[in-house]
Symmetry: C2
Subunit: 283 residues, 2 copies
């Protein structure tokens, strides 16, 4: 095990394992990138373990999910690694990238932009689907091509889209309050106009409901939790995901929780079920 | 149950209970103050439950411990409330209060200042020992005069000092990496010179090791966890706490953890044992 592709910015013992806050130069993003890794005890002893990629939502960064979700303790219990990437490139220098919380910095949507001004650096899609897993599996004791993926909000959208697009490598998928049909949301329209230069057809690769409609299914069950007092419920449209899954024959467990909102207080309330879902599929 | 003394700033469902982020006018501090409350499910149904006060460290606020410690899920499981106060008055306007991380804003040390410039507002001691519990027990379904108290670093010092000073109302005590002998630390010297106007004798009320030496003991066991790679170990001096407890006949479980540092990644690694310790003593 070498970690020369990565610089260790911080290390912290946690729950019998270790957190490593890493930075590296991303080829896809053309920029330095941050990513946080949790290795459970047996990975520290050199044994390859499966990893769950955890994707955060708008305005967040590589720290947010690990700090706020309570995921580490359950990953430690099940002997799983966690990999928490950032939510966008940082410092791309695109005009307007810091003007709105739903576009640009902190809002990469785990997709590749095609519009000229954004296309050079806003490539979180290829970064997450190819570069990052390949690097992580090369330099750390992680099982190859056997990964879980989960996320919250924009990250839930990313987890569903990435997992449905390549079910052979993304073994288990779950999401909290995902943007389930981004092509039809306000946020998605900003993406279309900016990252895609108006080409709505690009959404075919990234919209979970559209992927399902196009027959992109996963052999496992998608686990999705949704708070019914979520302040963004009308932008998230879990009902459309449910319909698309039904039509596609995709197994989906969609749990609606009365009283819960969009926050990580909601995420932490059900995180143990998600880690258990991934542990069952990955081991 | 009325909560008219408090303004609810935010509410979030969490782990079957509810978080309430509150503000109120503090008489002791002479300023508005923030405090966060977690009520477990049965308290929402009106049943009085015991509360654990959770005190954060330097630079933190009323959110930090709840966000980073993973305490809520275990409080929910054991049917306990959590009460997370701020770490200092805010906006007192004392000259120099924002100049150093270890003095002034974010650094109230859960004590009453005596030096003229600080004494008006820097009264976190009386706020925590008297005003806040009294208000909380008046307005929320909490058991009266039956409380747990825990904290981290400066908050661990506060928890030990407050609990040892009034064992009849503070039923259970625990601490993570407490400033165990503040009168002998660099941080404590800044307190002495500023909050106490040079009067080192004031520490008799607030230094856990000095309180033990003066015979202030608690009928329960103090649970203290300490990381051995804690970057502040030489300021914390758990060894002096251990000696003072031994001499005083105070039951103390001091656990030293190799590899763990001062962060909340350490706190969250052992939080379940602390909540269990309080649950056992409070129920």
């Amino acid at each position: 095990m070498s970690d020369t592709a990565f610089t260790v910015v911080e290390r912290h013992a946690c729950c019998g394992g270790e957190l490593r806050f890493l930075s590296h130069q991303s080829c896809e993003l053309g920029l330095p990138a941050r990513v946080n890794l949790f290795l459970p005890e047996k990975a520290l002893a050199g044994e390859a373990v499966p990893a769950i990629y955890v994707l955060a939502g708008l305005t967040c960064n590589q720290d947010t999910f690990l700090i706020k979700s309570n995921a580490v303790r359950y990953a430690a219990r099940h002997g799983l690694a966690l990999i928490a990437p950032d939510t966008s490139p940082r410092g791309a220098g695109v005009a307007g990238e810091d003007d709105a919380y739903y576009l640009g910095t902190g809002a990469g949507y785990y997709l590749d932009a095609t519009a000229p001004s954004w296309a050079q650096h806003y490539r979180m899609g290829s970064y997450l689907r190819k570069e990052l897993p390949s690097l992580m599996e090369e330099y750390f004791p992680l099982c190859r091509q056997k990964r879980g993926i989960m996320g919250h909000s924009m990250g839930g959208m990313g987890a569903l889209a990435i997992g449905l697009s390549a079910p052979q490598t993304w073994t288990t998928i779950s999401a909290f309050a995902p943007i389930a049909t981004p092509s039809q949301s306000d946020w998605g329209q900003a993406v279309t106009q900016n990252y895609f230069g108006g080409d709505v057809a690009e959404w075919a690769k990234y919209d979970p409901s559209l992927l399902l409609k196009a027959g992109k299914t996963h052999p496992g069950t998608l686990l999705v939790d949704q708070g019914m007092q979520d302040e963004f419920l009308e932008k998230l449209r879990p009902d459309l995901l449910e319909n698309a899954a039904k039509e596609a024959g995709q197994s989906l467990t969609l749990r609606r929780h009365e009283g819960y909102d969009h926050s990580y207080w909601f995420v932490q309330s059900f995180i143990q079920d998600h880690i258990q879902h991934h542990a069952a599929g990955l081991q």
